[in-house]
């Protein structure tokens, strides 16, 4: 204590100096507008900088609370997501937009659900075996559709199994049209790529562009009109130059095909009986 007092007594002039300088600068900033403004500006800048630093530090310290809040929200959203997923699953199998459209188009048809049992590849031709047969009311020349589009046509029936000629068979020939334009042609497969088929005989005046939808025309009596087949990926000239050939990206994925429906349309029987009657009237037909 004594040393402190001694120190103060000995260097009193230093403290006096500091006090008088403080008085001088107070006078300076108080009564000289130029120096006062410079001082205020500089001090303001320093204060702003300090405030900014303080704000940054504070927000950094708040991160813990922000984080816990985010975790809470995340859990909430996860729960909500689960709930919605459940609700969607309860709604039924319409998980694919095309699927729902196909179901809509085939709403007035009686359908038989079937599973693909095996697929056969012979001489670069593909066949599909499904686990429904005559016992389930399946007859040859009934249409087969999958969730993503037309699959093929029933060819042979056993009691519990049926052989289907898919679109990816070179013997397959399906009457199709381009949606909206009513341009008709026959869909065939060239034996190369399971994903693509060709639609021939599209007239040259047809306005067809990429991504147009190809659907069944309804002419074959196997399929009702308007069932999704695929989308146009390319428009080519036919070999004779008289028409267009469309390369169609098939909707059905034949490499992973599992669940299909077999359409038992009553049109088939009706058309057949009409044909028979016509044949009776005109033996040449």
């Amino acid at each position: 204590m004594r040393t402190i007092l001694e120190f103060l007594r000995r260097y009193n002039y230093l403290f006096l100096f500091l006090v008088l300088e403080a008085v001088s600068f107070t006078l300076l900033f108080r009564f000289n507008s130029y120096q006062g403004n410079v001082w205020l500006t500089a001090a303001g800048r320093v204060t702003a900088r300090l405030n900014a630093l303080y704000g940054e530090g504070e927000s950094y310290l708040n991160l813990r609370y922000v984080n816990s809040d985010l975790v809470r929200r995340n859990i909430l959203l996860q729960q909500q997501n689960e709930k919605l997923r459940e609700a969607l699953a309860k709604k039924g199998g319409a998980s694919h937009f095309t699927d729902s459209l196909t179901q809509q188009a085939a709403a007035d048809l009686s359908m038989t659900a079937a599973n693909v049992v095996s697929s056969i590849t012979q001489r670069r031709n593909n066949y599909i075996v499904v686990n429904r047969g005559t016992a389930d009311g399946i007859r040859p020349e009934q249409g087969v559709v999958g969730g993503q589009g037309v699959v093929g046509i029933v060819y042979l029936c056993e009691e519990h199994n049926s052989l289907v000629i898919p679109l990816t068979n070179r013997r397959s020939n399906l009457s199709c049209r381009v949606r909206g334009g009513n341009y008709f042609g026959s869909l065939t497969w060239d034996g190369k790529d399971l994903r693509y088929a060709t639609l021939d005989d599209i007239p040259r005046y047809a306005k067809v562009k990429k991504d147009d939808i190809v659907e069944t025309s309804g002419f074959s009596a196997v399929f009702p009109p308007g069932l999704f087949v695929g989308r146009v990926t390319e428009v080519r000239n036919s070999s004779d130059g008289q028409s267009y050939t469309l390369i169609v990206h098939l909707g059905a994925d034949f490499s992973t095909l599992r669940d299909v429906n077999i359409i038992s349309t009553s049109y088939k029987a009706e058309t057949d009986s009409l044909r028979q009657r016509a044949a009776q009237l005109e033996p040449d037909l």
Binding site: N12, Y13, L14, L16, F17, L20, E21, V23, S24, F25, T26, L27, L28, F29, R30, F31, N32, Y34, Q35, V38, W39
Partner: protein, 169 residues
């Protein structure tokens, strides 16, 4: 002793008055302003307590400020001068006066070289601080330098003049 005190008081009153009335209005070539009131601090006896140096420096500066309407500038510079002058006196005084508190700083005791060095250092400190605080920025460093050098030289001329006059009497 009393005589010395009275004489110093004479200078302590005369110089600020001269500063306010005459020297504050002199701006040689727009740059050099003499501030010879520092002389009143320079000739104080070595026995003067340091707090008195500081206080007198502040008071002289404040007085000069009042005359030029620059409150605080000369006061701040004067206070700093008051703090530094005892150290400078000790630095420039001949060795034989090191422990002699009866030393009276003048051209006889310090001789012209010592006295002018002593005065020049003190004036340089005072004038530099004055102009730096007045500018309060370093936008025009060259002009600031010319102000400082010009004012220092001008002030020294007056101080030498006072010293001659004081010793002739």
């Amino acid at each position: 002793m009393l005589q010395i005190a009275l004489r110093r008081l004479f200078w302590l009153i005369l110089l600020p008055l001269l500063q306010v009335v005459v020297f504050n209005h002199v701006h040689l070539w727009g740059y050099a302003t003499p501030m010879p009131y520092v002389y009143a601090l320079l000739i104080l006896p070595a026995s003067t307590p340091r707090w008195l140096y500081v206080t007198l420096g502040f008071t002289l500066g404040l007085f000069a400020d009042m005359g030029s309407n620059t409150p605080g500038i000369a006061a701040a510079a004067g206070t700093a001068s008051g703090l530094s002058i005892p150290f400078l006196l000790h630095l420039f005084a001949p060795k034989e006066f090191d422990d002699d508190t009866t030393l009276l700083p003048n051209v006889r005791t310090l001789e012209w070289t010592g006295f002018l060095n002593y005065a020049a250092s003190a004036v340089l400190i005072h004038v530099s601080l004055f102009h730096i605080i007045e500018d309060f920025a370093f936008y025009f460093p060259l002009q600031l330098l010319i102000n400082i050098v010009g004012s220092t030289v001008f002030t020294l001329v007056f101080i030498a003049l006072f010293e001659v006059l004081r010793n002739e009497r």
